[in-house]
């Protein structure tokens, strides 16, 4: 069963094509990583799939609903953890989670129950009463992902979830993300090769707005005759940049 299917998805800003005829299918329960250099079109793709940006042409069907003609239905089934932490700074951890649960239509009792569960799952109990602005970057990022999950989305978009975190915080978040594998569909963008290789079921490499290659980390290594995944990525990106 497909969670996401894009058909000739295009995004242009003026004359500049940021995402170019993207055709991509992601299965339900899959953890799919989108890789690419700066300006490759990863974040713009995520924005279109999460109804934050309208495609210039083409369409994306998310769990059977079109992002072009039915964005409201799509929005009720997905959630996003943006690049920045995107938390309400003067609210406590618990209040931030209750806010999102409420916004996604849960009544007070349902919201409290879901918040208790997510606080426990994400190990946020110790900081539940702390204001978000007092948390470290790692804890804020963890809260940001927990906020995206408290609405129980069927698809979760994680836009560079470990950007700017130290190695310990990054590894802790990897563990949290790994626990979600198979339960929901996750689309992850990242600049960290190791992150994509260790977490993802499949990886798509974007170059200049196009999906250059797609497959498992092993398949991409074989495709480029590389021993390390990082070398495979560099080979794919460099090849395209030279030819373009």
């Amino acid at each position: 069963m497909q969670a996401i299917e894009t058909t000739n998805l295009v995004k242009k800003y003026g004359d500049k094509i940021v995402v170019n005829s993207l055709n991509l299918t992601v299965e339900k329960g899959e953890l799919f990583a989108l890789l690419g250099g700066n300006g490759a079109g990863k974040t713009t793709t995520i924005k279109m799939l999460s109804c934050l940006s309208k495609p210039t042409s083409g369409d994306a069907i998310i769990l059977g609903k079109s992002v072009v003609s039915n964005p409201k239905d799509v929005k009720s089934k997905i959630n996003i953890s943006p690049q920045e932490n995107a938390v309400a700074s003067n609210l406590t951890v618990r209040e931030n989670l209750e806010l999102i649960a409420g916004i996604y239509g849960n009544d007070k009792n349902a919201a409290l129950s879901k918040v208790d569960e997510i606080i426990s799952t994400f190990g946020l109990t110790a900081v539940a009463k702390d204001k978000a602005k007092t948390l470290s970057g790692g804890w804020q990022r963890r809260l940001s992902i927990a906020m995206a999950l408290v609405s129980e989305p069927q698809i979760l978009f994680l836009d560079e979830p470990t950007l700017g975190l130290d190695v310990i915080a990054r590894r802790e978040l990897w563990t949290a993300i790994e626990r979600l594998k198979g339960k929901i569909t996750i689309i992850l963008t990242t600049h960290y090769m190791e992150e994509a290789e260790s977490l993802s079921d499949r990886i798509g490499v974007m170059v200049n707005g196009r999906l250059k290659a797609i497959g498992t980390a092993e398949e991409l290594k074989k495709l480029t005759n590389a021993e390390k995944f990082e070398d495979a990525f560099i080979a794919l990106v460099s090849e395209s940049e030279v030819s373009s």
Partner: protein
């Protein structure tokens, strides 16, 4: 429930910032007290409480523009609004979610202002209640200005721009002195802006001179409708924009 969740968040976000409380309530209150004490020692009527209290109530609203503008601009820059735009909230949920807590604060400001004025000789009668009601369009005008500024300017710019609104209200609102003292040009400019009409409308209702309110209420209502409608349009445009 969805809208209520956002209303609750915005109320907490604003009221938990001690600086905003100082400006919302503290500054107008202290100025009212100082000017009323000065009046007691003056041989002539410059700061009559019947004229000063309504003016100070309108002046206190200008801080609502400042802090609502800053809140929205900060929500944009921190990507918090991006997270919310990916949720099923509609544009009307957002407008109500941001406006309602600010309207409640405005009513509180007015009540505090008139209760304080009571200790300096203002009679508390039905006219005070009517005055608080007639202040609602003005409050909506200043909330609309804040929404507009927060949508158009970033969090670094909005403080400076909103301060200009505070200065305009202060100098051209006819709160501290008779506008006849300013010369014809400045008086004409003042009369084209809504602030002096807000002050005079409030003064006429407080003094029970209802027959004089028509010439001012038209200006206030016209500006309120235009500014708030523009704020809604700009906010909706922001929701559909790729550049939140």
């Amino acid at each position: 429930m969805k809208t209520l969740a956002l209303v609750t968040r915005n109320r907490k976000e604003i009221l938990r910032d001690p600086i905003s409380l100082v400006f919302f309530i503290g500054v107008p209150l202290v100025m009212l007290i100082i000017l009323s004490v000065m009046q007691k020692n003056m041989p002539y009527n410059l700061f009559e409480i019947e004229k000063l209290a309504p003016g100070m109530a309108v002046f206190s609203f200008s801080f609502i523009s400042l802090f609502s503008g800053m809140l929205i601009a900060k929500d944009r820059s921190s990507w918090f609004l991006t997270r919310l735009f990916a949720s099923p909230l509609s544009s009307s949920d957002f407008i109500i979610g941001y406006s309602l807590p600010l309207l409640a604060i405005a009513l509180l400001q007015s009540a505090v202002c008139f209760i304080t004025a009571f200790f300096f000789g203002l009679s508390i009668d039905i006219n005070v209640l009517l005055t608080i009601l007639i202040l609602i369009p003005s409050a909506i005008l200043f909330i609309g200005l804040g929404l507009l500024l927060g949508c158009v300017f970033n969090d670094k710019q909005v403080g400076g721009i909103a301060s200009m609104v505070i200065m305009l209200v202060s100098f051209l609102g006819g709160i501290w002195y008779n506008l006849d003292m300013m010369g014809e040009t400045l008086k004409t400019i003042s009369n084209v802006l809504p602030f002096v009409h807000s002050v005079k409308l409030t003064q006429t209702v407080l003094n029970g001179s209802y027959s004089e309110m028509n010439s001012h209420i038209i200006w206030v209502l016209a500006y309120t409708v235009i500014v708030f409608a523009t704020a809604i349009l700009v906010f909706k445009k922001k929701m559909d924009s790729d550049n939140i």
